[in-house]
Amino acid sequence: MSLIGGSSQVVRKAVVDALSLPAFILFFTMMGFGSLMQQAGFDALMAAVATLTIWGLPGQLAMVELTVTGQGLIAIVVACSLANARFMPMVVSFVPAMARGGASVWRQLLDAQMLSINSWAVCMREFPRVEAQWRPLYYRTFAGFILGAAVLGTLLGYYGAVILPAVIVLGLIFTSPLFFALVLATTPGRAERLSMLAGCAIVPVAGHFYPSIDLLITGVVGGTVGFVGARFWQTDG
């Protein structure tokens, strides 16, 4: 398999990969968020800035839901932060996959700010098909493109620009988990696969006992199970 390289080819691949689902998924998902922000009394600029700066739907939803139920500022910020805690391990696993050192700390912070579950999942899958020195360009083009689609969706949702029948909306909401499930289904690596299986098994239990930090528990326990399990597997086999 020949690798993709050169700026025009890499940019084209990033735009095509973004347009063949992620941009649309984020556009429709963020329309839902924009509509919730409008109902909660935020103004349109706040809704757009929330998508741009938080850039993680579970945290954004925690923010708008807790604001509606009249929680205090600290409680809202803490809940949003905990709902988005996955960015810490995601950034750690992502940065070396994209580039082996070299980037300045500011560049890395900007890359970290643009990271979302979409760009993480798609890039972890597509990076092996892109020449190493072109991976940052691929990521930044892809991430910038879907961020733009998300902000546009937030604003159109805020102004109620597109009204769709309820059953279509259900199908559109469902595109997001479907897309991630398919993208991750072919993840190579025994440790990664075992971690994902463990994560699925643990999340309902963690959610039952510790709903606000369920993903943190899921990640630490599931990731440890996958990491240790794969090592045992290796020594046995």
Partner: protein, 107 residues
């Protein structure tokens, strides 16, 4: 400043803390080492858990669709993806349309 602005910017800053912490950690660990591989496993477990939760235990309007219908839609998405040459668009379209059709017929 408006209280709602404090909420939005506070949430943005609080999320950025995790991203920034990720950058701090990644500059200090060996990308070939065991700690890095463990944190990668943690990411995969977290992301898989989040997706599993979105499908099986949704907090959105999807909760109004029975679990069996959601699972049927996922099964069709996987079938379409693998049968039609691993095309993500085919899988997602099949699953999404199945869910909409089931929701339409059973309500």
């Amino acid at each position: 400043m408006d209280r709602l602005w404090w909420i939005v910017l506070g949430c943005g800053a609080a999320t950025f803390l995790w991203r920034g912490l990720g950058v701090v950690v990644v500059r200090r660990i060996d990308p070939q080492g065991a700690v890095f591989r463990w944190i990668t496993c943690v990411s995969y477990a977290m992301v898989a858990g989040l997706i599993f939760r979105m499908i099986v235990l949704p907090e959105s309007d999807l909760a109004s669709v029975p679990l069996a219908q959601r699972i049927a839609a996922v099964a069709l998405a996987f079938a379409a993806y693998f049968l039609l040459g691993r095309r993500l668009v085919a899988g997602v379209l099949a699953g999404s349309l199945t869910l909409s059709a089931l929701a339409y017929w059973f309500t």
